[in-house]
């Protein structure tokens, strides 16, 4: 990657921090220690809902040596600042979910501290709890606000009600998805240093340093410049480190503030799984009107997600799930009613896909049912209804991109030998106890924040060049494995006509980097990457405009120009701030307009086998075809797709959160199973590139897309194999046994 940097965007530059990672030199939060550091632990609620009557410290322990923090010790506001500010850092009188933090302890001896944690006696008077989505909707008890509802949306297009009577077919179905643990292999952890003189500094594993910053400012009631948040190497996030780090960072900082010592809080796996956020469980109801030609007349969709005890990001998850619920199809009439409801379980939060995997699962399962009912093949029914350029989505967004979903579908079906397999499996299955099947899902995923989100964020990226010509990218976008460091360096290097090696990334530190928004929503490449590109252009223009550099320069001339610039004008820096593309319109009230700047489009095909003796379903082969704009780094991009597909396979067939009284009881890797190297089929990844004018070199977002299509493709394949239409994930062997048993 030295000279041929003219086409760096599109080449597989090696991972920028790859060497550190393969040698073990990369420092994650638990690898870092401070002199005089204490360890911190969290004492949590044993019950789903109750009134706290008393907390006492029992046993023969040196309690006076142990730092204790309760809600009374909080210097500022006792809430995690995010959307509704309803979640306390430490519960005071009432607990609303199992494992809710009540009290914090710190000591230098971890062993003694664990003993202390177990010796705190909490007396709680139990209150009636709501533990699932149905009970919450039915207001069995009102546990949040006046109606248990965090947020509702109504999307209305055309007139659904006049369509039913004209329809040749009306098809209904209900679909459910379970919770899913993000299961980043590095648990949540932070270290904090905090005192009145210097303010609060936190190092930690996180996706969004400025979210943590905003929350700590409120928690301590400090001016913004007195709070500093630094992201350390982060061992996976997938959304699980989007909003949660604000809570654990606050806890460590409160202990540090009170003790006057640095405090490290690292969760072990059991605590991380039982106490932190997961994917929202969901239920989707479809009612679909189709005419005699198999064209959609109306779609009515009810979408409900279980948000857990506090609001966290549920309104935004709901929003994305709602907008994706009608999929990449054109229907003249659509009505979507959705709500996020409260239950007395730990709050659910961000997880790759952010509501879309739930609603797309429902739609793509339902459309196989619709096709079967009206006598069309699944592929033919979709072909007749795919959205085309100039047509409108559920929110009346006119699709401006050149998109040919029928061609994408045909290519995916050919790449996977879909037709040949369907024919062959039908013959073979009749005399085999291993039933094989093949199924697909077609879908889209919007990149960037929904609606006017990016305008409100107003993200900024900086670029600076030192006197010796070294260029640094200043951005709050974090590297969490997805490749931020690498693609930003590729974008900056190609734009500046410099070698990849001459670009570096500044560690995200809120005292150094500008707010580029959170590292979420498939926005890092498309939105923030575009800002890197424009900041690089502006840096180049500054040098050229000042007469120190001419077009067609060499890296050596660039270096000389930087040296001259520093001598004559001082530091060389360029910044770029997000500007929305023109003619983009969004109405937050009516939920109408351009929901996303761009969509990635995809068709995924799964081949499965179902063992009729063991009721084990396996994915045997997987084809993932997507149109994502320009692919900046083919190896990293394929890695994103493969990793997302593997998580989707886990979501579908392996990962079952078992709840008891509002608490996850299988909170161990021993009994919450994610796919291993032996479980994942060959995943064949194909890209089509249709450059998007507002992404860097034409790139769109891809991070979340691969989470969306796996579950419905697999269940559609299982229906093809067995003839049974399953409507919920995870689909565990016992559920398969029940379903198949009934049919025999």
């Amino acid at each position: 990657m030295n000279d041929a940097d003219k086409n760096l965007m599109g080449a597989s530059a090696p991972r920028k921090e790859g060497r550190k990672k393969v040698t073990g030199a990369a420092l994650y939060i638990d690898d870092i220690s401070f002199p005089g550091m204490l360890y911190g632990v969290t004492v949590r609620s044993p019950l789903a809902r109750g009134r706290v009557n008393n907390i006492s410290f029992t046993g023969d322990l040196p309690w006076d040596e142990i730092t204790k923090v309760t809600a009374e010790d909080i210097p500022g506001e006792n809430y995690v600042a995010l959307i509704l500010n309803d979640q306390p850092y430490l519960a005071k009188d009432i607990v609303n979910h199992p494992e809710e933090p009540l009290l914090l302890l710190a000591h230098e001896n971890e062993y003694l501290l664990e003993k202390a944690r177990r010796s705190v006696r909490i007396e709680i008077e139990e209150l009636p709890a709501v533990l699932n989505l149905e009970d919450s909707l039915n207001r069995k008890h009102v546990i949040w606000g006046s109606d248990n509802v965090f947020k509702s949306f109504l999307v209305n297009k055309g007139d659904v009600d006049q369509a039913w009577s004209r329809a040749a077919f009306v098809i209904e179905g209900t679909y459910e998805t379970g919770a899913q643990e993000q299961l980043y292999i590095e648990n949540n952890g932070v270290i904090a240093v905090a005192n009145e003189r210097d303010g609060v500094t936190v190092w930690g594993s996180m996706q969004c340093p400025y979210y943590v910053h905003k929350a700590l400012v409120k928690l301590f009631n400090l001016p913004e410049e007195k709070v500093r948040v630094i992201q350390t190497e982060t061992g996976g996030g997938f959304g699980g480190k989007e909003e949660y780090p604000s809570l654990i960072a606050g806890h460590a900082a409160l202990l540090a503030w009170k003790s006057g010592r640095p405090v490290k809080v690292i969760y072990d796996r059991a605590e991380d799984m039982v106490a932190t956020t997961k994917r929202h469980p969901s239920r989707t109801q479809h009612r679909t009107a189709v005419d005699a030609n198999g064209k959609l007349l109306a779609m009515e969709i009810g979408f409900v997600i279980d948000g857990g005890a506090y609001c966290t990001l549920s309104p935004v998850v709901l929003s994305r799930g709602t907008i994706h619920a009608a999929g990449p199809y054109y229907s003249p009439n659509v009505r979507i009613r959705s709500s996020a409801v409260a239950t007395n379980t730990p709050p659910q939060g961000a997880f790759r896909g952010f509501g879309a995997p739930q609603s797309i699962f429902a739609l793509e399962r339902h459309f196989d049912r619709v096709a079967k009912t009206i006598g069309l093949s699944p592929e033919e029914f979709r072909r007749r209804n795919f959205i085309r350029r100039g047509e409108t989505t559920a929110t009346n967004q006119v699709i401006q991109e050149e998109v040919d979903l029928s061609a994408l579908l045909d290519r995916a079906l050919n790449l996977s030998n879909y037709y040949e397999k369907r024919e062959r499996f039908e013959k073979e299955n009749s005399h085999s106890k291993i039933k094989k099947g093949v199924g697909f899902a077609s879908f889209m995923h919007g990149a960037g924040f929904t609606g006017s989100g990016e305008v409100y964020l107003a993200s900024v990226v900086g670029l600076e060049a030192s006197a010796d010509g070294l260029v640094r990218v200043l951005s709050a976008s974090t590297e969490i494995g997805q490749g931020t460091n690498t693609i930003f360096c590729q974008i900056a290097a190609e734009t500046l006509d410099l070698p990849y090696e001459s670009i570096e990334i500044t560690q995200p530190d809120t005292s150094v980097v500008p707010n580029s928004g959170p590292t979420v929503a498939s926005r890092t490449c498309m939105i923030v990457g575009k800002l890197v590109e424009s900041a690089a252009l502006s840096l180049k223009q500054t040098l050229i405009g000042s007469g120190l550099l001419r077009e067609g320069y060499s890296p050596a001339e660039f270096k000389q120009a930087c040296a001259d610039f520093h001598k004559r004008f001082g530091p060389l820096r360029a910044t770029s701030k997000y500007q929305p593309p023109e003619n983009v319109f969004w109405d937050d009230e009516k939920y109408q307009g351009d929901a996303y700047g761009a969509y990635a489009w995809a068709v995924y095909v799964a081949e499965v086998s179902v063992d009729m003796y063991t009721y084990e379903a396996r994915v045997e082969d997987f084809v993932a075809l997507q149109e994502v704009g320009k692919v900046i780094n083919p190896v990293l991009a394929a890695g994103q797709i493969e990793g997302g597909v593997a998580q989707a396979i886990g979501f579908t067939l392996f990962e079952n959160v078992v709840w008891q009284d509002g608490r996850m009881v299988n909170n161990q890797m021993t009994n919450y199973i994610i796919p291993t190297a032996a479980d994942i089929p060959p995943i064949h990844v194909y890209f089509e590139e249709n450059p998007y004018p507002f992404g860097p070199a034409g790139a769109k977002g891809i991070g979340e897309l691969p989470m969306d299509g796996g579950a419905p493709a697999i269940l559609n394949a299982i229906e093809n194999a067995t003839g049974i239409s399953f409507t919920q994930v995870p689909l565990m062997p016992e559920m398969l046994m029940n379903g198949l048993g009934r049919s025999e």
Partner: protein
Amino acid sequence: MDYSITPIAVSLTVNGQSQTVEAFPMERLLDVLREQLRLTGVKEGCGEGECGACTVVFNGEIVNSCLIPMAQVDGSEITTIEGVALADGQLNRVQQAFVEFGGAQCGICTPGMVLAAMNLLERNPHPSESEIRDGLAGNLCRCTGYMKIFEAVLHACESQKEDTLPQN
């Protein structure tokens, strides 16, 4: 009440260096490597032998160091990720292939995965894809979906670059 238990002296060779540490008999090898010897390339993912992030080579076998009490460690030879790069600091062929073919994403499973891959190639220099799958099934990765890891291992086999994998 006295919280101290008497530590024992444990002699071990780590990455070729002989040393003696003081540790509690039931203390985890993982903690001694990370905290006393500052070999923080050994990661903790689950603490119960499921994820493989704490993989080290222990007398020639890959083990989960979170499951090894120090009472069993005396006289052993251990290799961690810090001990596998080539003498001149260059990456060995497995490490190189992981960087080149996208085998590492977030990196937290990578030290264990690289050691498991090296150990596999030591026992079986030309594994089939299904042997690679079996060989790495004790190391969980949540980022890659494993495809790029398999590719990296296959390329490391083909790589002509001469380097020796650590012998224990």
